[in-house]
């Protein structure tokens, strides 16, 4: 099992935003990171809900995190619990669910809780990038 890596990686010269990827599978974090870095995002990783909460509470992430992409089926604090935490503590950070198990009821419930997108693996890079861009755009609009 990969250790959780904290720290930042600046993917492009002009940073499009800072994204936290929460998934227990290192493979998923790897490809999501690769896909988003190419589009100029800074990508942080967390291997479960607990690490994700630690990450968002760490230093400048409180203020600078732009999007969280979160799996559902994970150890420790699972995706649903992490999402509930993010919604109550960081309501301004848009959340995208990226799950391996499509479930309509669950999707509806997450969208009701304010999750901006519900993506089912495998998701194409283009779709993922546009979901992230859309989420950031909505966040910017909400700030106005």
């Amino acid at each position: 099992m990969d250790e959780f890596k904290s720290g930042f990686f600046v993917g492009g010269e002009a940073c499009e935003g800072r994204v936290l990827v929460v998934d227990d599978e290192p493979d998923i974090r790897r490809v999501v990171k690769m896909t988003l870095q190419k589009a100029g995002y800074e990508v942080l990783e967390a291997e479960n809900g607990e690490k994700a909460i630690e990450t968002i509470n760490a230093g400048e992430n409180r203020l600078l995190l732009d999007v969280v992409i979160c799996d559902i089926r994970m150890p420790k604090i699972n995706g649903a619990e992490a999402i509930a935490y993010f919604r109550s503590h960081y309501p301004r950070v848009p959340l995208i669910v990226l799950t391996g198990f499509p479930d309509t009821d669950m999707a509806t419930s997450f969208l009701r809780q304010g999750v901006v997108d519900y993506l089912v693996k495998p998701v194409e890079g283009e779709k993922l990038r546009s979901a992230v861009a859309r989420a950031i755009e909505q966040r910017e609009l909400a700030r106005l």
Binding site: D27, R30, M34, T35, R73, G100
Partner: protein, 350 residues
């Protein structure tokens, strides 16, 4: 005088019919098999009778003259035997022979077919609950494959292309084992004769299957295997038993986590297979019902209520026993004990 609910039975004929009768009747507490006879010393029922410590004889006269016998089951199919029995039996003894014994045999074979179908339908119903686990295990590698392939399509660095292509190949291989494991598990248990089954391997196989049925997140696993432990039985059916017990153990720790301990041990010339959890435990007032058909504590649609019933049926068939030790909120231990497979007392495969 015999009590009305206790029957002493002699079986004549130890071929397929006699063997099937033995298998069925020796489970029934109110029936005592006082002996079995066959002219052919190699008849399969005779060997089984010796295993069950039921007297075996080549002498029909001696057996039917046994004063305790109240019922003779003649499955020799030999018309002369029928005549002989009617001429020589004691007046208090009843005889089931000819077409009546064939009918009995058909009913028994029908029941064993129904039992196999029941096992299979419970197994298939269980597989329905694997959907989320399977989706997880297939869609994650697919995400990796898709992401890497998209990158390869535009990647200029040849070393990276080669490395990522190799990762794709590995991911495809991992994914293909899922289908292999599941098709092997879902097929109808092969009707082959009992064989020596390496229990530790079956436990590992069961763990792989059980992962689809339940989330192993937050579960610590301890394995303590007696090297080479083996039991006699049908490997497909034993796998079914182990998947059921492991799945139940993990469900008992759902959401709170805990420790799953899987052990095999040799003691007093017996093989123990022990599956313990530190989960919610079984309420004492339901303990006597857990092996009853259609008993379940799971919500509707989650459990068939046939899991432990089938576990018990299979373990009985393997001449094993099940012991359950459970405490509310402390956990549950299921111990399966099987007869040693080797008279030498090694009980292990080399």
């Amino acid at each position: 005088m015999e009590s009305s609910d206790h029957t002493k039975v002699a079986i004549l004929g130890a071929g397929r019919g006699g063997h099937a009768l033995l298998e069925l009747l020796h489970h029934i507490p109110s029936i005592e098999i006082v002996g079995i006879a066959d002219r052919n010393p190699a008849a399969p029922g005779l060997e089984r009778a010796r295993e069950l410590q039921i007297p075996v004889s080549a002498n029909v006269q001696g057996l039917i003259g046994n004063h305790g016998v109240s019922l003779i089951l003649d499955v020799t199919g030999d018309p002369e035997m029928e005549t002989y029995l009617h001429a020589h039996k004691l007046p208090t003894v009843n005889i089931l022979s000819g077409s009546a014994s064939r009918l009995l045999l058909k009913l028994i074979l029908h029941e064993s077919k129904l039992e196999a179908e029941l096992l299979q339908s419970e197994k298939l119903a269980g597989i329905g609950s694997f959907a989320s686990g399977i989706a997880h295990d297939i869609n994650n590698p697919l995400q990796l494959i898709l992401g890497l392939a998209e990158n390869i399509a535009v990647e200029r660095d040849l070393t990276t292309v080669h490395e990522q292509a190799r990762d794709i190949i590995e991911a495809v291989k991992r994914t293909s084992t899922i289908c292999r494991d599941l098709t092997r598990y879902s097929r109808l248990a092969s009707p082959r004769e009992d064989m020596l089954v390496p229990v530790n391997e079956k436990l590992d196989e069961a763990l792989k299957i059980a992962r689809y049925a339940s989330s192993f997140h937050d579960i610590e696993m301890i394995k303590q295997y007696q090297p080479g432990a083996a039991v006699k039985g049908n490997p497909d059916e034993l796998l079914h038993v182990l998947v059921n017990l492991i799945t139940n153990a993990v469900h008992a720790m759902e959401r709170v986590g805990g420790t799953l301990t899987i052990e095999t041990a040799l003691h007093d010339q017996q093989i123990d297979v022990r599956i313990s959890d530190t989960g919610c435990g079984i309420a004492p007032d339901t303990m006597h019902e857990i092996f009853e058909p259609f008993f379940t504590t799971k919500p509707p649609g989650k459990g068939t209520g046939l899991g432990l019933y089938n576990v018990k049926t299979i373990v009985d068939k393997m001449h094993g026993t099940i012991a359950v030790d459970s405490q509310i909120d402390k956990g549950t231990t299921f111990t399966l004990t099987f007869p040693d497979t080797e008279p030498s007392g090694q009980g292990c495969l080399s």
